[in-house]
């Protein structure tokens, strides 16, 4: 028996062993590890698809893939990256760190936790399997707009059910996180003492619970429109194709913050550690995050400026969208103010965090430009948008995830990673990511639409640069895998504290932490959390 009651009177770790440890796990760390490994695999799967995209776009003309297959690469690339790589990585980190950070023995609902993980591989089996079906995978873009998506062949119901399945997983995961944070905190761990990573995740979990079911509803309507004769998205029956877009983006915009908020949380942990100075404006960080989350439900129309909304609608969405820059700005300024007058060192997690602050902000700036309705009529559906969201997603969310791995991996494995290689990985990633995505701004402004397998010749040069950057970035990620594996296998032993500036409960546990994190709840005092 591995109940806590047992672990209480002999302090040896009682782990289940072998394959069952993983298949049947109820342990937040093991589940967290599975999530993280799964998301890394998915990052490579989605990345490989991106490589196919970039290879096809290297020159004008069709060289490698048929346009239909190209479209399905774009679609599945996005779905895999968003639902398979970034979201599970965030949930994995939440699993590993939240119980440790708040002084809990485990997640509140450990069995459900395991189910929300195990759904992922099965859901992706449904989705990726469609690539091998007659008629190929879904090819309508990840946004699945009808009527185009209704032309999907045999892949269609699999796509819909995969989305339902992933939604179930996310909802279970979020419920678990909320219950854990609100119910499992150690004495003294008041809400306003919660580490920011925990705060951002709670808020993310609310976003998930409120938005995923809406997506489920939207795709359900697609399903009935295709197979059961309903006409939600068909004008001939009184519906409207644009209705889908409203419902989709009501989910879709909160979704992008679901990807971004945990990243904000990570950065808010790392910068104080390496600046050896408390986070500037803790309370305003919390309020800013909450404001972003609330606003995110009122801006969905900015993805639909060109569908012909009534002008009042366009104005409303423009104002709301621009407003989000204010709380996001507060976060950026707070990070800079945290660095200000600190005593900084620049290990890999800090380097990635600094790159995050700069590159995410650049992505945010292009977002603000996109938010200006009359100009979005020129930006919409061009590579300017592609550049925008890769800056916030890749050099934003993914960079933060990379930072978090370097930051916490000594805690997870008990070994220090190879700092020199990590720095090389950082510089390669940062340089190549910019070569990859910066020129796409120019492509978009010069008029290159997105989701096309071939382009007119004036776009050639920037596409070549972008593709080379893409290949470079992709290959550099192999180094990341090498560093991670090397660190898991061995290396300099890490102390409990790991980082000189580390504050918070996670640094009071041994590295790696015991199987059940806090068997007796720790007492949390102000000094433990502070500098």
């Amino acid at each position: 028996m591995s109940t806590i009651a047992h672990a209480d009177h002999d302090h040896h770790d009682h782990k289940p062993t072998g394959i069952k440890r993983w298949l049947f796990s109820t342990n937040h760390k093991d589940i967290g590890t599975m999530y993280l490994v799964f998301s890394l695999i998915m990052f490579f799967v989605g990345g490989s698809m991106a490589m196919i995209i970039r290879a096809e776009l290297f020159q004008p003309g069709l060289q490698f893939v048929d346009p239909q297959f190209y479209n399905s690469m774009v679609t599945v690339h996005a779905l895999v990256m968003i639902f398979g790589a970034v979201m599970p990585a965030g949930v994995g980190l939440a699993n590993w760190m939240i119980p440790i950070m708040i002084g809990a023995p485990d997640m509140a609902l450990p069995r459900m936790n395991n189910m929300s993980f195990w759904i992922m591989p099965f859901a992706f089996a449904l989705l990726l399997g469609t690539l091998f079906m007659e008629g190929g995978g879904p090819a309508s873009g990840w946004t699945m707009y009808p009527p185009l998506v209704l032309q999907t062949g045999k892949a269609f119901p699999y796509l819909i059910f995969a989305v339902h399945f992933l939604g179930i997983s996310s909802i279970m995961g979020s419920i678990n996180i909320i219950a854990t944070v609100f119910n499992m905190r150690a004495p003294g761990m008041t809400l306003m003492r919660l580490p920011l990573f925990v705060w951002t995740w709670v808020i993310t979990a609310f976003l998930l619970i409120a938005s995923m079911p809406v997506l489920a509803g939207a795709v359900t309507m697609l399903l009935t429109d295709k197979y059961f004769g309903t006409s939600f998205f068909n004008a001939a029956g009184g519906g409207d194709p644009v209705l889908f877009q409203h419902i989709f983006w009501f989910f879709g915009h909160p979704e992008v913050y679901i990807l971004a908020l945990p990243a904000f949380g990570i950065i808010s942990q790392i910068i104080p550690t390496f600046a050896r100075k408390p986070l500037f404006g803790y309370a305003s960080m919390v309020y800013a995050t909450a404001s972003i989350a609330i606003l995110s439900f009122f801006v969905w129309g900015h993805h639909m400026f060109t569908v012909g909304l009534p002008i009042t609608g366009e104005l409303f969405f423009m104002y709301m969208t621009m407003l989000i820059a204010v709380p996001t700005g507060v976060k950026v300024f707070n990070w800079v103010a945290t660095m200000w007058k600190g005593a900084m060192t620049f290990e890999a997690p800090m380097l990635f965090s600094i790159a995050f602050v700069i590159l995410f902000t650049i992505g945010g700036f292009s977002g603000l430009m996109l938010g200006i309705t009359p100009v979005d009529f020129q930006y919409h559906n061009t590579y300017f948008v592609v550049a925008h969201f890769h800056y916030v997603l890749l050099t934003g969310a993914v960079f933060a995830l990379m930072a978090s791995v370097y930051y916490w991996i000594p805690k997870w494995t008990g070994n220090m990673y190879d700092e020199k290689l990590a720095k090389i990985h950082f510089w390669l990633s940062t340089i190549f990511a910019n070569i990859l995505f910066f020129p796409q701004h120019f492509l978009g402004l010069a008029g290159m639409p997105r989701r096309i397998p071939d382009y007119s010749v004036q776009f050639t040069d920037f596409n070549m640069i972008s593709s080379l950057g893409g290949f470079g970035y992709g290959i550099s990620q192999l180094l990341f895998v090498y560093i991670v594996i090397k660190c898991v296998l061995g290396g300099k032993k890490a102390t409990s504290q790991v980082w000189e500036g580390g504050r918070g409960l996670e640094w009071t546990l041994s590295s790696p932490p015991p199987y059940h994190s806090f068997t007796t709840p720790p007492k949390v005092t102000k000094t433990l959390m502070d500098y």
């Binding site: 409120a210 197979y227 059961f228």
Partner: protein, 290 residues
């Protein structure tokens, strides 16, 4: 008991992965059915069976642990939070369909009829279409079934409203009885609730039958039929699930499972039942009545 002071973390369990696999089979089976793939039926049936097996197994585990007294107050709170937020997610699921209904009524149908920004749309594409709600004549009914009439609010739907409201009362009465440890009243009121739930589903089925055969109001009767059946259909499905859960609770209660202080499962199902009730009120007002 030491275990009461400490948060219960279950030992490893096979149910989560069984559940994932079961749902996978069910989804794959459903997709195969829709694609008319060979042997789809069997995959689908295996999937259903596996899901039922998983629920039965998982819950009997939980029930056994609960009876063994492993859950303390804190675990109970986790469960409550879990159920509460799950219900919120269900609310959002229905919100998507209500959203579609309002969109159609307030925006898309009037636009097609030439109101607001729909003037050109109407002029060039659907000059003959007149907007109305319920929308009996579609912009182009070639591929749709034109219905004769809609289901009037003050017939069976009104009766069903009463039934659900009443069942909300009876489930509360049985909860009070439970808190006063009056076992007989508890079981009796619970049984009445289950019966009312069953009656509701029966009436709903009758009404569907009537609508399909006599009114030719079908799923493919344009946006009215679409929103009507998806909203009431998903609600009916939830009522069915709720009634099944109530029945399980009734069986457990007959076995003497709940005490006046510890009866989270009972409360969870009662919340769910109230949620289903509230959704129905929304349906009654916006789908049937107004």
């Amino acid at each position: 008991m030491a275990s009461k002071d400490i948060y219960f973390v279950p030992e490893s369990s096979k149910w989560p992965i069984v559940g994932s696999l079961a749902l996978f089979t069910l989804f794959a089976g459903s997709a195969m059915l829709l694609n008319q793939s060979p042997n789809a039926k069997y995959v689908f049936i295996v999937g259903i069976a596996a899901v039922i097996y998983m629920f039965a197994g998982w819950f009997s585990n939980v029930i056994a642990e609960s009876l063994a007294g492993k859950y303390n107050k804190q675990v109970d709170i986790s469960f409550r939070m879990g159920m509460g937020w799950f219900i919120l997610s269900e609310v959002m699921f229905f919100a998507a369909f209500f959203g579609a209904l309002f969109y159609a009524r307030v925006l898309s149908v009037p636009w097609l009829g030439g109101e607001g920004s729909g003037a050109v749309t109407h002029q060039f594409l659907w000059p003959a279409f007149k907007a109305s709600w319920p929308m009996s004549v579609m912009p182009d009914s070639t591929n749709f079934t034109v219905y004769k009439d809609i289901v009037p609010a003050f017939g069976l739907p009104a009766v069903n409203t009463l039934i659900l409201l009443l069942s909300g009362v009876t489930v509360t009465l049985s909860h009070w009885a439970l808190k006063k440890a009056q076992r007989n009243y508890l079981n009796a009121w619970l049984a009445v609730t289950v019966a009312l739930g069953g009656l509701f589903v029966y009436f709903q089925a009758t009404e569907y039958h009537h609508a399909y055969t006599e009114l030719s109001l079908k799923l493919n009767s344009g946006i009215f039929g679409s929103t009507f059946y998806l909203l009431t259909g998903f609600h009916g499905f939830h009522v069915t699930m709720g009634a099944v859960m109530l029945a399980v609770i009734l069986l457990r209660s007959l076995k003497g499972h709940f005490t006046k202080n510890e009866h989270f499962a009972f409360e969870a199902v009662a919340w769910y039942w109230h949620f289903v009730d509230v959704v129905w009120l929304g349906l009654f007002i916006f789908v049937y009545w107004l």
